[in-house]
């Protein structure tokens, strides 16, 4: 199973050698900053007011008021960014005809998939690492709860992995990048909007919809709670989408 490494390297070279990674990174950080900076400054304002009027008795917890909404909002923003990272992965190969070439290499489908998936995940993780500057900024001024930051980032990593694998699958079914991008976006949006319908359902149906909705599971991660059911959800979605991709790749061989 060493075959994934050359694919991984090639993908990484493609990502960092083209403006794609930088453009996605720039926009993601720019938008994330708008979820962070105004909130941060408003928090400082509230702190100042509370200090002058102690009877206000506000609970001022920086982790709760700044980082929790930030984490959750970043997960929502991913809905729009992940499709840009994945749309090219297989669709482009198919369009340019390199897919046949790739499939004739002495590589197993699993290795090709692993290489591409890990490359996309690494790129995403490195963009995510840059956003660590936000908790560090907050920690510079006050004490924050690193446990909650840890679960938040674990959640973001997991939700990213799930999104990426869905994107990979959609990309493997088409040779048009735009179709792949919009398809991924549509699929993710559907899984996100499911959560909205949960509110109008009752009983078991409500539980089922809630468990199926993709952003719903970010809530506990964002507030600092690690729950096995959220872990299982993201891991199973990732695994299932990767499995689908594998079947889709395999079908190329026998469909001809």
């Amino acid at each position: 199973m060493r075959g994934w490494l050359p694919v991984f390297k090639k993908e990484m070279r493609l990502y960092f050698g083209s403006p794609v990674a930088y453009a996605v990174g720039t926009f993601f950080l720019f938008i994330a900053a708008f979820f962070f900076a105004p909130n941060f400054i408003q928090y400082a304002d509230v702190s100042m007011r509370a200090a002058m009027q102690p009877q206000m008795g506000q609970s001022l917890n920086a982790t709760e008021s700044i980082l929790r909404p930030l984490t959750y909002n970043m997960a929502v923003v991913l809905l729009f960014f992940i499709p840009m990272l994945t749309m090219r992965l297989f669709a482009e190969e198919k369009r340019s005809g390199t897919m046949e070439l790739l499939l004739t290499y002495p590589l197993r489908d699993g290795e090709i998939l692993a290489g591409k998936f890990l490359a996309a995940l690494s790129l995403y993780a490195s963009i995510l690492a840059l956003t660590l500057s936000y908790p560090i900024t907050v920690a510079w001024f006050t004490r924050i709860e690193w446990g909650a930051v840890l679960t938040g980032y674990l959640g973001l990593l997991l939700v990213g992995a799930a999104f990426l694998s869905i994107g990979l699958f959609v990309s493997s079914t088409t040779e048009n990048q735009i179709v792949a991008g919009f398809g991924t976006f549509g699929a993710l949006l559907t899984l996100w909007l499911l959560g909205w319908f949960a509110d109008s359902a009752q009983g078991t149906l409500r539980t089922v919809i809630q468990q199926a909705a993709i952003i719903e599971h970010m809530e506990s991660f964002a507030k600092g709670v690690l729950d096995t059911k959220d872990l299982v959800y993201y891991l199973s979605v990732t695994a299932f989408a990767l499995f689908l991709t594998l079947r889709s790749l395999e079908s190329k061989r026998w469909r001809g």
Binding site: P19, F36, F40, F141, D199, T204, V208, D227, Y233, F243
Partner: protein, 540 residues
């Protein structure tokens, strides 16, 4: 027979799919796997096998084709993988573990609650009435979910929108959004703010077996429980019964002892003095952690003044007069002082901004002893306004002279409601001792004996039918009773203090943060990208 075979051959597969869909649909709405669902699953399996057997030849030739074979096996694999994923999620939903990594575990239930909920023997159901878009809804549901998870099936809840099901809301008497109705058996309890403290205590209330008994003393011209006239206590009785208490009369002179099952004893405005054996019975009761509510009307039963002084309560020989205009707004005269502010106490916890009226009351204040009595702590809970005073010229009032403030009177604000806790010292009698001692701690031996509680009101009209309906009087009365009965919060759960960590920024600092996050960080990434592209162009 042949017809059946043909039907099976033709439609068997579809029948199997329909059966499976039916079973799945039922599983969504009914509880998991009832007998009917099993029957459907088995029927699906039988239909599938039969149809497969009958279609064998065609199927085999179809499968013989390469694409079909691969496609079918791929579809089967995908279905299996989907099944595994769904199963994993279903299992994880039921058997999940949870770690709260916040420093004060603020997203987890306290150990007391978990212990209580885990030990539930009767089912508890909560219906919570939230508008769909209410901000508190999610927090409440989050909390209820944790209760349900900790209980192992005994605690259930559902969320209702009072606007969408107004009939249901009316049935449970829900008047405001965000109300939770908790039920267990024939008991129910309304919770207005979904926090852990209130919810847990509501669980205690609805699951407690038996109702606490409240005894109301008679025999000295007290107000009567069964009288529905203005002067009677019938409404107070009704309210207490609604709040899950049993209310009984008590002829203390005959029994010479407070019954063992008494949760609270009420002395509602005696007109003549209680006899020494009766007072001794109350003493003994209080010493064992008893709970007594005295309503001592002015000009009557003067023996109580001396008696209550023992418990650190100064009963004034006066009538509180309040000429302020607020009372006149409600059509009550200066003999009904209005109270709008309360001291911090479990009784007055929810009374902020709620007015109460104390008709014809004398002043009741903690005694100004030079040396504190051991184990006794008296707190003034309600005070009238600054403009009021305690009129001591009672003879003049009787003659019909208008009340006038003079130096002999008690100056306002006047305390009209006092609560006392009596912590029995280990091995000692509760008789007040002369030596001053530090306040006994609530741990050690003393904690094993329940503390005695005493509430003294300067008027009994407050709880009578004519006074109970006034503004917040009913709530305050029930709060007093539930504090005395020890039900105001049996389980005290410390609110999870979110740690205060304010941030103070100079304007330079806040500008730096803005620039760094919005411009510099994304900008740096962009510059890297541009530099890379430019370099590539040059190389090419």
């Amino acid at each position: 027979m042949t017809l059946l075979m043909t039907l099976l051959k033709r439609w068997g597969m579809w029948g199997a799919v329909l059966c499976l869909l039916g079973a799945g649909g039922l599983a969504l709405f009914a509880s998991w796997m009832t007998r009917l669902q099993w029957a459907l699953v088995i029927a699906a399996a039988v239909l599938f096998v039969a149809a497969a057997a009958l279609n064998w030849r065609e199927g085999a030739s179809l499968l013989g084709r390469r694409g079909m074979r691969h496609g079918a096996s791929a579809a089967l694999l995908v279905l299996m993988a989907l099944g595994v994923a769904v199963l994993a999620n279903a299992v994880s939903l039921r058997y999940n573990a949870r770690w709260d990594l916040t420093e004060n575990k603020r997203h987890s239930l306290s150990p007391q609650t978990v212990k209580l909920v885990r030990g539930l023997t009767a089912p508890v159901e909560v219906i919570s009435f939230f508008r769909s878009d209410m901000p508190g809804k999610r927090t409440a549901e989050d909390l209820l979910k944790q209760y349900a998870q900790a209980s192992g099936g005994k605690f259930t809840y559902r969320m209702e929108d009072p606007d969408r099901s107004p009939g249901l809301a009316r049935r449970y008497g829900v008047e405001s959004y965000g109300t939770l109705v908790m039920q267990s058996g024939d008991k129910s309890e309304k919770v207005l703010d979904a926090d852990e403290d209130r919810l847990t205590n509501a669980v205690v209330k609805v699951t407690r077996s038996g109702k606490p008994v409240i005894y109301v003393v008679k025999g000295h011209g007290e107000r009567d429980l069964s009288t529905a006239e203005r002067a009677g206590l019938s409404q107070a009785k009704e309210q207490m019964e609604k709040a899950n208490y049993t209310v009984k009369e008590l002829e203390l002179a005959r029994q010479a002892k407070v019954p063992a099952d008494a949760a609270v004893v009420i002395v509602p405005g005696p007109k003549t003095d209680l006899l020494p054996p009766e007072l001794a019975a109350l003493d003994a009761y209080l010493a064992q952690g008893g709970r007594v509510l005295f309503m001592a009307d002015p000009l009557q039963a003067d023996g109580l003044v001396k008696y209550l002084a023992k418990y650190g309560v100064a009963l004034g020989n006066d009538i509180v007069v309040e000429p302020s205009p607020i009372g006149q707004l409600f059509g009550v005269g200066p003999e009904v002082p209005i109270v709008t502010g309360y001291e911090q106490h479990p009784i007055t916890k929810d009374m902020a901004n709620v007015m109460t009226g104390f008709p014809v009351t004398r002043s009741v204040a903690p005694a100004k002893e030079e040396r504190p009595l051991e184990g006794i702590r008296a707190t003034a809970l309600a005070k009238t306004s600054r403009d009021s005073w305690g009129e001591t010229d009672l003879a003049g009032l009787r003659r019909g002279q208008p009340a006038r403030r003079d130096p002999a009177d008690t100056p306002g604000p006047v305390s009209v409601l006092t609560a006392v806790t009596i912590v029995p010292a280990p091995g000692a009698k509760t008789e007040p001792k002369a030596e001053p001692k530090a306040e006994p701690k609530t741990n050690g031996d003393a904690a094993k004996k329940p503390e005695g509680r005493l509430v003294v009101l300067g008027t009994s009209t407050f709880a009578a039918n004519q006074g109970l309906g006034f503004q917040g009087n009913r709530d305050l009365f029930l709060n007093i009773v539930s504090w005395l009965a020890g039900q105001e919060g049996e389980i005290a759960i410390r609110p999870k203090d979110t740690r205060q960590n304010p941030i103070f920024l100079t304007s330079a600092q806040s500008r730096t943060v803005l620039w760094l996050s919005i411009v510099i960080l994304p900008g740096a990434v962009m510059v890297c990208g541009i530099w890379l592209v430019v370099r590539r162009r040059r190389i090419n």
